[in-house]
């Protein structure tokens, strides 16, 4: 039953490994995306109810829907968070394009020496 939390931990571990240990800065940005997706899986799982019903009110199930339906709020939070992470990825990629124009290298050691 707790396998989803192990999956989230694995995704975040892979993402953190990519951000910290990889030398290519594009791989670091991909790692940021993986961390974000891990958090989204956690968010959607918070709203899950065992054997839950779809949260759409029709005229028959209005009496018992409140107690047994799946929570519809976390999926709205995940949509907002996906848009925010998309904005951050676009900004990171445009900064990488400008860095490449300066030093013609995608290695993070060269980025660290950019200032001299």
């Amino acid at each position: 039953m707790y396998i989803v939390y192990l999956f989230v931990a694995a995704l975040m571990g892979i993402g953190i490994y990519a951000v910290v240990m990889k030398d290519n800065i594009l791989k670091k940005v991909i790692g940021l995306g993986i961390i974000g997706h891990g958090v989204h899986v956690l968010l959607v799982n918070i709203g899950h109810v065992e054997g839950g019903l779809i949260p759409i009110i029709t005229s028959e199930n209005i009496a018992y829907l409140g107690m047994h339906s799946v929570d519809p709020i976390p999926q709205a939070l995940v949509l907002t968070s996906i848009v925010i992470d998309f904005g951050i990825t676009v900004l990171a990629l445009s900064i990488i394009v400008m860095i490449y124009k300066h030093i013609h290298s995608l290695s993070s050691k060269d980025v660290g020496k950019m200032k001299g």
Binding site: L79, V83, V90, S94, V97
Partner: protein, 131 residues
């Protein structure tokens, strides 16, 4: 790009745009809404940019027009969000016209948001493919 690519792109992009408009306009019933519909419309425009190059695509999708479109869509969005306070009686008439099943003026918000998203994404695509 090649003539085959250009002809196929020219033929298929209207269908992509109609599909994107379908997802924007049906955001209150089916999954989707402003953001995903805007991304699909922008994907069609990116196909045009790839097929015709930046200079060719700029003949129809000029960047200044995109900025203006985004600003106007943002103004419409802010006006709709503020209108509930200030123009309450006009807004209920507007809601009466656009009231689809029980969605109020979510349709107008989806269209405004979708236009903002597509203008922003096409601007980003231009920025990345320009030399």
């Amino acid at each position: 790009m090649d003539m085959i690519v250009r002809t196929v792109a020219k033929g298929i992009v209207p269908f992509i745009w109609i599909y994107g408009a379908y997802i924007i306009l049906h955001g209150h019933i089916t999954p989707g809404g402003s953001f995903s519909g805007g991304v699909i419309v922008a994907a069609g425009a990116v196909l045009l940019i790839i097929a015709y190059g930046t200079k060719g695509a700029e003949k129809s999708l000029h960047e200044d027009n995109l900025h203006l479109l985004e600003a106007l869509a943002g103004a419409v969005l802010v006006f709709l969000l503020l209108s509930e306070m200030f123009f309450r009686d006009y807004v209920t008439v507007l809601m009466g016209y656009f009231d689809i099943v029980s969605a109020g003026y979510v349709l107008l918000l989806n269209v405004a948001g979708g236009v903002m998203v597509l203008a922003a994404l096409i601007t980003i695509a231009y920025m990345f493919t320009r030399r």
